[in-house]
């Protein structure tokens, strides 16, 4: 998030696109609801009629995969009606003219056609957004999990720049991170392109810095992403994998392919709390301790580094992940030993500029938000305050591109996937909580009542969902939450693994994210 969660309370307009906030970030949704009660306007764009759409001033039930067209359509209106922030653009941005050229093609009529919404709603949303003094955009994987995910994010950035909502309190571009420390994992360089602090592995001066800091010879070649690792494993090029606290056999797209990949490995190490679906494939399973059994830090979606504190001793003979890694590193020749995670944080801050001022002592009472470059820095509530960090805000001319797998005669429905309030990721944890299973015991498929009626599917009936990669059987839930050609299935459940259906074709060019939000499927009644 460029801005902070509590700033949501004072915003004038909330634009939610591709986030079912009440289910995936329930506490952030409470801030939103309070802002709305106070008078903030709300725009919701989502293929599902989510809870917050009921409170919206404009609800846009867009076709999955059309975020860019919608955003371009809104920006077309804002440009046409001259509702944009000319002074801000002049002072703080570049590439405006090239961007403007592209947007010209996206009249509300064109956008409405692509998104399958009413053009008046696009116009209304555009005016609301542009006229709000402080407008914040909130999004999650409904924007990013597309073959054009990066384009979606850049279009959001364009819209925000266009109305001068960058570097302003209670405004900004606010991705809500799904997992507890997905922000921190990326900050720490658990990605194939970056060392900690987004320092690029392919830059010689960066490599040199880390070679010196770590006293090691490093590779300047960008590594493989999750999806690429699976592909290389299947081809036999990747021989060894070490999977810590992840469950790709449920969470990753095209599971049949993951299954082949993991089987093809020479050696697999899985480190987890439970014997997960993925751990079954391992040659060695290491028992890790839970968050309640260790010290450390997580970085939340507003960049706040907060303490994790040990409440109990490690269960059984398990060990905290940092201890296990430290033990293995020692055996691989690592000279430094850590007796407590605070010592690791000391090393982190010595090589990560954004974390330079973060110590356990300083975050004892309350977490600090990065960038926090030195010990006297109070942390950063919202980004780009005095000036845009890269110098000028860059407008990106972005064209809409169709999803990779669009419906056709054989596979006529768009399947989209997502999360539910009562479960977390692959249910390794929440699946073991009796009350949560009581509230949400099984998976289901949302299907429009007209579609269900046309196919003769009753509420609660089991149906077969088939894609080009696999099939699953799931219980139909008849609803008006989805459009007639759209289906929704949550991805949490191992006994109804929707990722047997999803694909890994044409990953997003920049982020390598799979298009989990759009899969073409067909339905079959069981026994028919």
């Amino acid at each position: 998030m460029t801005n902070s969660i509590e700033e949501t309370l004072n915003t004038d307009l909330i634009f939610i696109i591709g986030s079912n906030t009440t289910e995936t970030h329930p506490v952030i949704s409470t801030f939103m609801k309070r802002a709305i009660k106070r008078g903030a306007k709300l725009i919701v764009a989502d293929p599902r009629r989510i809870e917050l759409s009921q409170l919206a001033d404009v609800y846009l039930q867009i076709k999955p995969g059309t975020n860019v067209a919608l955003l371009n359509g809104m920006m077309n209106v804002i440009l046409e009606e001259e509702l944009y922030d000319k002074e801000f653009i002049e002072k703080n941005t570049e590439n405006f003219e090239a961007f403007r050229e592209v947007i010209k093609g996206y009249t509300p009529e064109v956008a409405a056609q692509i998104c399958n919404v009413d053009k008046e709603d696009i116009i209304k949303a555009a005016r609301l957004y542009a006229r709000a003094p402080k407008a914040g955009i909130y999004y999650t994987m409904g924007v990013t999990q597309h073959s054009t995910g990066t384009s979606g994010v850049m279009s959001i950035s364009n819209l925000s720049l266009l109305c001068g909502n960058v570097g302003k309190e209670s405004a900004g571009v606010n991705p809500l991170r799904g997992q507890n420390n997905v922000q921190g994992s990326t900050d720490m360089g658990a990605v194939p392109t970056d060392y900690p602090g987004y320092q690029k592995v392919f830059k010689p001066e960066v490599k040199e810095k880390f070679e010196k800091a770590w006293n090691a010879k490093l590779s300047g070649t960008v590594g493989l992403t999750v999806a690429e690792m699976m592909k290389e494993a299947e081809k036999g090029n990747l021989k060894f994998m070490y999977i810590m606290g992840e469950n790709p056999m449920v969470s990753d797209p095209d599971i049949s392919h993951v299954d082949k990949a993991l089987r093809s490995l020479d050696f697999l190490v899985v480190q987890d709390l439970f014997l997960t679906e993925t751990a079954e494939y391992a040659d060695v399973v290491l028992p890790a301790s839970s968050f309640a059994e260790k010290d450390g830090t997580f970085t939340n979606t507003e960049r706040r580094v907060q303490r994790v504190r040990q409440g109990i001793k490690p269960v059984g003979n398990s060990k905290p992940d940092w201890q296990i890694l430290s033990d293995i590193m020692k055996r691989l020749g690592h000279e430094k030993e850590y007796s407590h995670p605070s010592e690791i944080m000391e090393e982190i801050r010595s090589v990560t500029p954004q974390y330079g001022g973060i110590t356990y002592e300083r975050i004892e009472e309350e977490g600090l938000q990065w960038p926090c470059p030195d010990l006297s820095h109070p942390g950063t509530k919202y980004l780009h305050k005095d000036r845009i960090m890269r110098g000028k805000g860059l407008f990106m001319p972005i064209d809409y591109r169709e999803s990779v797998e669009t419906p056709d005669e054989e596979y006529p429905f768009i399947l989209t996937t997502g999360r539910l309030r009562y479960h977390y990721h692959t249910r390794t944890l929440t699946g073991r909580v009796e009350g949560l299973n009581k509230l949400q015991p099984h998976s289901f498929m949302e299907i429009n009542e007209a579609t269900a009626s046309r196919l003769g599917i009753a509420d609660g009936e089991k149906v077969r969902v088939i894609s080009r990669r696999g099939e699953i059987v799931v219980t139909a839930r008849i609803t008006d939450a989805v459009d007639e050609n759209v289906l929704f299935i949550p991805f949490h459940f191992a006994d109804t693994r929707v990722n047997y259906l999803t694909h890994t074709m044409d990953l997003d060019e920049y982020s390598k994210i799979p298009e989990l939000k759009v899969t073409a499927v067909k339905l079959e009644r069981i026994g028919s």
Binding site: I28, V226, F291, R421, R432
Partner: protein
């Protein structure tokens, strides 16, 4: 700033705040059952009454703002008498089961009755007799213990934004209810438990999978693991078990939580937890020592790297692990194995 006199002593306090807030800041304790600094003043319990010079009646300090020159008595004879009367009325219509009540030790009514010396209710007569709503898997509502402070109703409506509960009936028959009194399970309730966290008495209580008294547990402040909000919370620890979770006030959560964070802790001490390293031999997992597991892993890393080069190895770190662990994981792959093949499920 304005000048006020509290219990004969002069203070400078901020303009526009309530007497209750001013006294809190000055360290002068005034009892209250219905006040919460995140909610609008409500003035329901009247326990916070104070005497203000020149005013005929006692005033609720939670809903009276300070004025320049105000002279306030927080514990005068008249005030104490009124508070005792209020506590007497509340306790007279309250089950006298404090010995076994789950709230004992953290009950505001108990604390204030102790402070003001209310040993028993002096109003003999009818008492509330309602069924307990047990329909939610994580907590129950016992209307008989409810003192009608309205905190749960206001937290649900004004902070959580769900409005699953409201007051029903009037006078003696008033109770907190879901629509048509059909119970929490069939209401809009999302099981966040934010009402439970703010109930001053034992009316809204978590169902405890394990029995414990409040004074038996240690509270450890930590960060929730269930999404990127980073809610601050306390683990309730008894022996080597996590027996509950309570919300803490953090910048990102303002004392609120959701159902997963608040009640999804059962996995921690779950019998399925892996308790020892496992090595697969002939297709079956066998228990092993840490030394055996480490030796095998390190030998394999060295062997494969030697034979196929460092880029034939790869690792998935975790968005569920700490910063420190993610840092070590990528450092291990980069500095000790020699490859940038490290990623995690940021995209999934």
């Amino acid at each position: 700033m304005v000048e006020i006199t509290v219990n004969g002593k002069k203070y400078q306090v901020d303009k526009g705040i309530t007497i209750l807030e001013a006294c809190n800041r000055l360290g002068i304790s005034i009892p209250t059952l219905c006040n919460d600094d995140r909610l609008e003043p409500y003035g329901a319990c009247r326990l916070c009454v104070v005497e203000i010079k020149g005013r005929r009646n006692l005033e609720a300090s939670c809903s009276t703002k300070v004025r320049d020159g105000m002279e306030i008595e927080t514990h005068s004879e008249k005030v104490i008498k009124a508070r005792k009367e209020i506590l007497d009325l509340l306790y007279s219509n309250h089950p006298e089961d404090c010995l076994t009540c789950e709230k004992a030790g953290e009950c505001k009514l108990m604390d204030y009755c102790y402070e003001y010396g209310i040993k028993k209710g002096s109003y003999i007569g009818e008492k509330k007799k309602y069924p307990i709503d047990e329909s939610n898997p994580f907590y129950y509502y016992d209307p008989n213990k409810c003192i009608l402070c309205g905190k749960c109703v206001r937290v649900c409506r004004d902070l959580q934004g769900t409005s699953a509960i409201a007051f029903k009936n009037r006078g003696f028959n008033t109770k907190v209810s879901t629509p048509f009194d059909m119970g929490l399970a069939t209401s809009d309730c999302v099981s966040c438990g934010n009402c439970v966290a703010n109930c001053p008495v034992g009316a809204l209580m978590p169902k405890k999978p394990e029995k414990f008294r409040t004074w038996e547990v240690k509270k450890v402040k930590t960060t929730c693991i269930y999404c990127g909000v980073g809610c601050q919370m306390y683990l309730l620890v008894k022996g080597n078990r996590v027996v509950g979770v309570e919300p803490a006030r953090g910048k990102a959560n303002n004392g609120l939580m959701c159902v997963k964070g608040r009640f999804g802790y059962g996995f921690i001490n779950h019998p399925d937890r892996l308790k020892t390293p496992l090595i697969k031999r002939n297709g079956k997992f066998e228990e092993a020592t840490w030394e055996e597991a480490y030796d095998l892993i390190v030998n394999k890393i060295k062997e494969i790297r030697e034979k196929y080069g460092p880029d034939s190895l790869g690792g998935l770190s975790s968005a569920k692990c700490t910063n420190e662990e993610n840092y070590l994981f990528q450092k291990m792959f980069r500095a000790l194995i020699g490859t940038n093949n490290v990623d995690h499920c940021a995209r999934l």
